[in-house]
Amino acid sequence: MKVLVTVKEVATVEDEFEIDGTAIDERFLGADLNEWDDYAIEAAVQLQEDGIADEVVTVTIGPEDAEQTIRQALAKGADRAIRVWDDALADVDLLDVGAKTELLQAVVEDEDPDLVLTGVQSGDDSFGATGVSLADAIDTQWAAVVNDLEVDPDAGTASVHRELEGGVEELTEIDLPAVLTIQTGINEPRYASLRGIRQAQRKPLDHQTLADLGVDDGAVDGDLELTDMYEPETETDVTVFEGSAEETAGDLADLLREKGVEA
């Protein structure tokens, strides 16, 4: 069976930063593989190692700069990658769930995977919605916030645990094909080996434009517009202990004893 993993390069922000209009000033931004997607990639690669998946393909919506991040997934074991990008996307501030759905839907229709794995959410805009929206668009089953996965390829089903709030997990049986959004902690994402990194350089990475996918330019003009960005107001009345580590630890110890902490 074929597994498609959606992979996103997310912007990471330094502790101290400045805002420029409706974006964080580029000087304070880094780039990384989305944390949740790292777990989704690992889940796919494990299915491959268990002989359940024959092929693992990644798909990314992102500019050429994102290729370094895409190669990380290839280095960890994915077979090939698709990168969707277009000049029409470069002008969009906030690519909404509907637009992402339409792009990924076109890729799924080309690739026809049996299982699509996405991260639960992305670390930057954190919509947490694309996977389930995609599932509905391609008319397959789905499960959100999966922290345990077993696939039975013969029965054509997946047994998953969905991580609910408050330390409760829901046990669910799902018919395949399906889209699963993968939660952190489901596995231990591997580090890419040197051999993997070398091999990744030779693995296919195809660039697709909107025209290649047969998607209209208009599809990416969403109804959402980012109009403001600011640092949240803090209403903190925290008492900060100042001084060397020994001094602050001494002050804190006095306070803790006052609160009833005893050695």
Binding site: D124, S126, V168, L226, E231, T248, A263
Partner: protein, 319 residues
């Protein structure tokens, strides 16, 4: 078309708190659009739920008596059919794990723009203005939706719960569900194992987060906890890494704790973590980042390297 349709959240026979918060958010929004607030409750003991949801400001409760527990196929179909029948302007759902399992499908099916995890809502002329966080809470943003209609999921704990008793009409809604189209079945629930330690029982918690860097460094935390006669708990990344078992995790998906003293070490204080410990009597934060969100709720703080402070503190307690 100015009404609001809010979807109640429930699990294993109980309405979840966010249901009542949805009523407040929905009433506020309906006041701005000049419409009615409709509430839908799908599956489970719906009549009992309807009675509880009939609070001040609710105009109508629609019950969908189909199955006991959450099933996203049932929810998706029930809500799209209610949408067709009621033609509301806005659909409000909880940004819960279940909310995120149906709201995106509903939005896709109804071709509605979707904005999730919203912490504030307003109407400005024809546009819906949603406030939400980005980059793990480092910034807040406003997003305008210039659409006739939209679907929104709201974060729990951001609106007060609706109170009082309303005079809503309660109507059973007949939903048309093709059993063959249901491709998922809930077979049960599992509680995260209790293990050897009950962190909800502790008077003093020493809680460790991502700032500890390496598994080996946890020893520092256990040494401190022993010296202080405290229990060790953690934030999510420590459990995700497999360094501590799930029964030690504080937060939305872990345990809710209310100790006398909560010492957060190397924990930035993401909203999911804060949800699990904000009820602590005294909160102390040790973190190098003075802007970390944990500082907003801490009573006392040390803005310094935990690798310097923690050993010094252990020594203070004779460890």
């Amino acid at each position: 078309m100015s009404d609001v349709l809010a979807i109640a959240d429930h699990r294993r026979g109980e309405l979840r708190d966010v249901s009542y918060e949805l009523l407040t958010a929905g009433r506020d929004l309906a006041d701005e659009t000049g419409g009615d607030l409709h509430v839908a409750v799908v599956s489970g003991p719906v009549d009992e739920y309807a009675e509880k949801l009939d609070r001040e400001g609710v105009d109508a409760v629609h019950t969908v008596d189909y199955g006991e527990e959450f099933n996203h196929d049932v929810y998706t179909r029930a809500i799209t059919q209610l949408y067709d029948a009621l033609a509301p302007q806005y659909v409000l759902a909880p940004n819960s794990v279940n909310g995120l399992d149906y709201a995106p499908a509903v939005a896709n099916r109804l071709d509605l723009p979707l904005v999730t995890d919203v912490v504030d809502l307003a109407v400005d002329g024809d546009a819906l203005v949603a406030t939400r966080e980005m980059y793990g809470g480092k910034v807040e943003t406003t997003t305008e939706l210039a659409a006739d209609a939209a679907a929104v999921t709201i974060r729990s704990g951001e609106w007060p719960a609706a109170e009082g008793t309303g005079d809503a009409t309660v109507e059973a809604f007949d939903v048309d569900i093709d059993e063959d189209a249901i491709g998922s079945t809930v077979t049960g629930f599992e509680e995260v194992a209790g293990g050897d330690v009950d962190i909800t029982d502790a008077d003093v918690l020493v809680s460790v987060g991502r700032g500890i860097d390496e598994e080996e460094n946890l020893e520092l935390i256990f040494d401190l906890a022993e010296a202080m006669d405290a229990t060790v708990s953690s934030s999510r990344p420590i459990v995700d890494n497999g360094w501590l078992p799930p029964n030690r995790q504080v937060g939305q998906s872990g345990k809710v704790v209310t100790p006398d003293v909560y010492v957060a070490i190397g924990i930035s204080g993401a909203v999911q973590h804060v949800a699990g410990m904000k009820g602590s009597e005294t909160i102390v934060a040790i973190n190098t980042d003075p802007n970390a969100p944990i500082m907003d709720i801490a009573d006392y703080a040390i803005h310094d390297d935990l690798f310097d402070v923690v050993p010094a503190l252990t020594e203070e307690f004779g460890g």
